[in-house]
């Protein structure tokens, strides 16, 4: 269980994100950071899902597909059926679970590069399906989606109407950060639970796990479903921010990025995807001033990191201990 020290630092981290970061932004005047940090939070939620599939020993390059499914679910529900945006977030996640179960049943039997490549293809399938279906409005996408409305319970405003919000960006920032904190707290719980230990046994040796009575098929499906749920949630909120979605909103590059984020942070650490996403996103952003050399420097750094810390950034701590 968590030590007191760990609990305090987790709480401090949460408070820092929710109160400290907005304060720093206000005094520094870097308003644009609200969106970039919101992006990081959302992308790290999706990456956390990918991390979970790594945890059961599967290389998942298909999270972009679920982000797209989640995004479209939210957009369609809001625009065509007038459902409240907030309600569409869990619904988007549930839709993704449904898809994950349908797709996962056959493909979770695959391992190694086969699973990786099938999921990679899945991202393309999602894009092509979005282009072909009438309900997604095909190539024209869905745009001009209204901002999220408010939610009140017994006259008490739980969530204000975003259209009347003075600073929408800050609103989305809070939403994303809170969800991210919940996600990673949940992930931590999960990994340290019985299911988590079983998942780890899967990662090491499926046959062995199966022989000691673990229902590996069910376990894999659960992990994959949770992973997809996270992808769907992140996708739905992105749609809320951009107020539009197109078939190419979450391309293959996103799927690859989600995977990279996990690697970058370190596959052995629950908070790896969070750090990985932060470094990956800001790494690119910081190099904004390098102009045409941006991609060159960025990729060189990525390669350099791999050479020096092939087990992820967080492995630096275990390295120092040794």
């Amino acid at each position: 269980m968590l030590t007191l020290q760990a609990k305090i630092s987790a709480l401090a981290f949460a408070l820092l994100l929710i109160f400290g970061v907005p304060y720093l932004i206000e005094i520094s005047g870097r308003w644009d950071l609200y969106y970039t940090l919101t992006s990081v939070a959302l992308l790290s939620i999706a990456s956390a899902g990918v991390w979970l599939t790594f945890y059961i020993g599967r290389i998942n390059i298909g999270q972009g597909a679920f982000a797209l499914v989640g995004g479209y679910t939210s957009a369609i529900l809001v625009v065509k059926y007038g459902v409240s945006f907030w309600l569409t977030i869990p619904l988007a996640g549930l839709m993704c679970i449904l898809v994950a179960v349908l797709v996962g049943l056959p493909i979770l039997r695959l391992r190694g590069v086969y699973f990786a490549m099938v999921t990679l293809v899945m991202t393309e399938v999602a894009r092509l399906t979005a282009l072909a279906l009438p309900i997604t409005n095909g190539a024209k996408g869905i745009s001009s989606i209204p901002l999220p409305g408010g939610v009140s319970l017994f006259g008490l405003t739980l969530i204000p109407d975003f259209a009347e919000l003075e600073n929408v960006k800050r609103g989305f920032f809070y939403v994303a950060v809170v969800l991210m904190l919940i996600t990673f707290a949940g992930m931590y719980r999960l990994v340290n639970s019985r299911i988590g230990h079983l998942c780890r046994s899967l990662q090491q040796n499926e046959e062995l796990a199966s022989s000691i009575g673990v229902n590996i098929a069910k376990l894999r499906l659960i992990a994959f479903s949770i992973s997809s749920f996270m992808g769907g949630v992140a996708g739905a909120i992105f749609v809320g921010i951009s107020q539009s979605i197109y078939p190419a909103s979450f391309p293959v590059k996103d799927s690859v990025d989600f995977m990279l984020n996990c690697f970058l942070g370190g596959l052995g650490y629950v908070f790896g995807p969070m750090l990985g996403t932060l470094v990956n996103y800001f790494g690119w952003d910081l190099l904004f001033t390098a102009g045409e050399y941006q991609l060159l420097i960025y990729s060189s750094l990525l390669i350099f990191l791999m050479l020096t810390l092939p087990n992820g950034l967080l492995s630096i701590f275990s390295k120092m201990k040794n």
């Binding site: 970039t36 282009l131 539009s244 910081l286």
Partner: protein, 395 residues
């Protein structure tokens, strides 16, 4: 987080200092104009030709002593952001422009990016000039986007009508890449062709942008024996291959597109087979290019080694921004003043021979003036260069 923030600030500052040290001449103030678009990856050519034409023009203006707006003379600085064709990144780019205090941005280059940045642009008072065609970006209640070129639903009908009346075209076939922008453009083209009474014999065939052999793609299309093959929203990389495949399959009819192309790319990729290919261009064909336009091409070539004909259509957005500010100096940081001036602006077009004007249009397409007026130059490719087929106007 704080460390990152300061780091980001320091890096931006350092680069800013370095940049201004390089470009500073007189003690002119600096006027920043933004660019958010794609300059890396598969679609790099679109954004690159775009941003380079802006940089060429900016350097030219600065060399001439800057641009005088009201009583102040400014040096123009182009602040660029590569959105990697990712709408999520495009939003970040727009946020960055807002933070830099920029109110006028050229880009993004594609539909999804342009739609995604709309909320940010409206919240931060940014007028942006996308190269994307969805009408809802430009019709009320949207009011911050100005279409930076001629839309395919405007050029398409003009081209089809011309070809119907002058070349006897009756049957049209459409092919498009399996992506949002080309497919939307195809649908617009099909509707326009039908409205003109043309027989659309094939419009379902699509291809992946990474296709390496277009023979199987085109075979079923050409079996319908069209007189005109329209390559909807074709990327400059695909155009020569499609033309070549069609000709090698024995197709004799006309081929056209509504996007801008580059003559060198066509020449290298399809050679003489591309002769007669019809596309929409800007203003560099010898018949209409003014001395200024020729100088622009020379400067561009000097700066970047090689000219890209796609830039012909992209010289205008920056020019319009500056001219509008000149006409109404208050517009420099007040987009509402800018919008007022949109309705009245009329100044000479320096890139074209004759007495063509720079003015905003769009009333008939969008119900408000949210499009820049550029000559719709329809080109025909012949032996490595473009020739003007006809020139039309959009209102």
């Amino acid at each position: 987080m704080r460390k990152l923030t300061t780091l980001a600030g320091a890096a931006t500052l350092a680069a800013g200092v370095a940049f201004s040290a390089m470009t500073a001449q007189a003690a002119n103030e600096v006027l920043k104009i933004g660019f958010v678009g794609v300059t890396s990856g598969p679609a790099a050519a679109w954004g690159t030709s775009n941003v380079r034409s802006m940089q060429t023009r900016a350097e030219w203006i600065n060399e001439m002593g800057g641009v005088k707006i009201g009583n102040t003379t400014y040096d123009v600085e182009i602040v660029t952001f590569d959105d990697q064709k990712d709408p999520k990144r495009a939003i970040a780019g727009m946020e960055k422009m807002a933070k830099e205090g920029i109110h006028y941005v050229v880009g993004p280059n594609v539909d999804d990016g342009a739609a995604a940045v709309r909320p940010v642009a409206e919240q931060n008072d940014i007028i942006y000039f996308p190269y994307a065609f969805p009408k809802e970006l430009y019709t009320a209640p949207a009011s911050n986007a100005v279409l930076g070129m001629i839309a395919n639903y405007q050029s398409g009908p003009a081209i089809y009508k011309y070809l119907r009346d002058n070349k006897g075209v009756k049957k049209v076939a459409f092919v498009a890449a399996n992506e949002s922008d080309p497919l939307s453009q195809r649908d617009g083209g099909v509707a326009a062709a039908k409205a003109l009474g043309l027989d659309v014999v094939s419009s379902n065939v699509t291809y992946q942008v990474d296709t390496t052999d277009f023979t199987p793609v085109l075979t079923p299309v050409l079996q319908k024996r069209p007189d005109l093959l329209v390559l909807s929203g074709v990327a400059p990389a695909n155009a020569p291959q499609l033309i070549r495949s069609a000709r090698e399959l024995g197709y004799q009819g006309l081929i056209s597109t509504e996007t801008a192309q580059d003559a060198t790319v066509l020449k290298e990729g399809a050679g003489d087979l591309a002769n007669g290919f019809i596309s929409v261009g800007g203003a560099s064909t010898p018949e209409i290019a003014s001395e200024k336009m020729k100088e622009f091409v020379t400067r561009y070539t000097k700066m970047f080694g090689e000219y890209n004909d796609e830039s012909n259509t992209k010289v205008y957005a920056l020019e319009y921004i500056l001219e509008t500010m000149k006409a109404n100096p208050k517009a420099i940081d007040d987009v509402n003043e800018f919008k007022k001036t949109i309705n009245t602006l009329s100044v000479p077009n320096i890139y074209m021979k004759g007495d063509s004007k720079l003015k905003y249009v769009g009333n008939s397409s969008f119900g408000q003036k949210r499009q820049i007026f550029v000559p719709m130059v329809v080109n025909e490719y012949r032996n490595g260069a473009f020739e003007t087929l006809f020139i039309a106007e959009v209102d």
